[in-house]
């Protein structure tokens, strides 16, 4: 699914540079049948390009926003906090729910993420079954319960 042809009708934009972690996330979503409309990008620059329909995503409908951006913090080119800062300081992209999903549970990262306006913060559980449960709850809440403009 990491191809630009599948970039329309995306419910979840997964921003994750670690291939193994991205695959685990997608496997967990397959189990909860919410995998179909996920698009995976590998760094912060590509995430902004996707949302803004620029660069490699020129031609994507810029009015179509994902219902959720699942964002890692440590990434090449542009880190997760910079992505949050960019998205939340632009009134057009501010309403898009952004949930940080990271292996860091440092209180500094948690506090700074919320200060920048992140909608939620999830520390990745270490074991796959726990991770799968967490991802399934994330997807159920953000895709089926929560409403966006």
């Amino acid at each position: 699914m990491n191809n630009r042809n599948g970039s329309e009708n995306v419910d979840i934009l997964l921003v994750e540079d670690n291939r193994h972690d991205a695959e685990l996330t997608m496997r967990a979503l397959t189990k909860s049948e919410l995998r179909n409309r996920l698009h995976w990008v590998e760094d912060g620059v590509e995430a902004l390009d996707f949302v803004r329909a620029t660069g490699a995503y020129t031609g994507r409908d810029p009015t179509q926003f994902p219902k959720l951006i699942l964002l890692d913090l440590k990434m090449p080119r542009l880190n997760g906090l910079d992505v949050v800062r960019e998205l939340k300081s632009d009134k057009r992209t501010r309403p898009i729910p952004v949930v940080v999903m990271t292996s860091s549970n440092q209180s500094r990262d948690v506090a700074e993420s919320y200060r920048l306006g992140v909608n939620g913060y999830v520390t990745k559980p270490i074991h796959f079954m726990d991770l799968a449960d967490a991802i399934s709850q994330i997807a159920i809440y953000w895709l089926r319960v929560n409403q966006v403009p």
Partner: protein
């Protein structure tokens, strides 16, 4: 519960039937003993800021989630949201609007003011209970709220 140290969810709701249904749903998911219910916007701000009747509440204990109705007396839900999200001490507390309004203006304005989530109250009781327990599962079991 007098010292409020166990409060994880602050429920701001003036409608008794809705509040009871919300608490019943949270009870079903085993979260009931962590909910504190206030009836209007002024009391919500007093609780969070430890002022008025809550002056002796421990300021370092913050709820993991505020469930906020929009149409409440004395101070509206949007005003509460504006106050909390513009306060340095309170801006990082997760707030989810839970309302029967699904007007586009309310949704857009809530997000503009920095709400963390927005959920429509389903009319049908079984769906209502289901939605509230899903809110509880995500915000209390999965999401990490910031420390003070």
């Amino acid at each position: 519960m007098n010292d409020f140290s166990d409060v994880e969810v602050l429920l701001v709701e003036d409608n008794h039937a809705d509040a009871e249904m919300t608490m019943r749903a949270l009870d079903r998911a085993n979260f009931l003993n962590k909910v504190y219910w206030v009836h209007d916007g002024v009391e919500a701000l007093d609780f969070v800021r430890c002022t008025g009747p809550y002056a002796s509440r421990d300021r370092t204990q913050r709820p993991k989630l505020i469930l906020l109705d929009l149409t409440i007396p004395r101070l509206s839900g949007l005003s509460v949201l504006r106050e909390l999200k513009s306060g340095v001490q309170t801006s990082t507390i997760p707030i989810v609007v839970l309302t029967s309004s699904d007007q586009d203006d309310d949704i857009a304005e809530s997000y503009r003011l920095g709400v963390n989530g927005f959920v429509n109250k389903p009319v049908e009781p079984a769906s209502f209970v289901e939605q509230v327990s899903r809110i509880g599962m995500y915000w209390l079991m999965v999401n990490q709220a910031p420390a003070i």
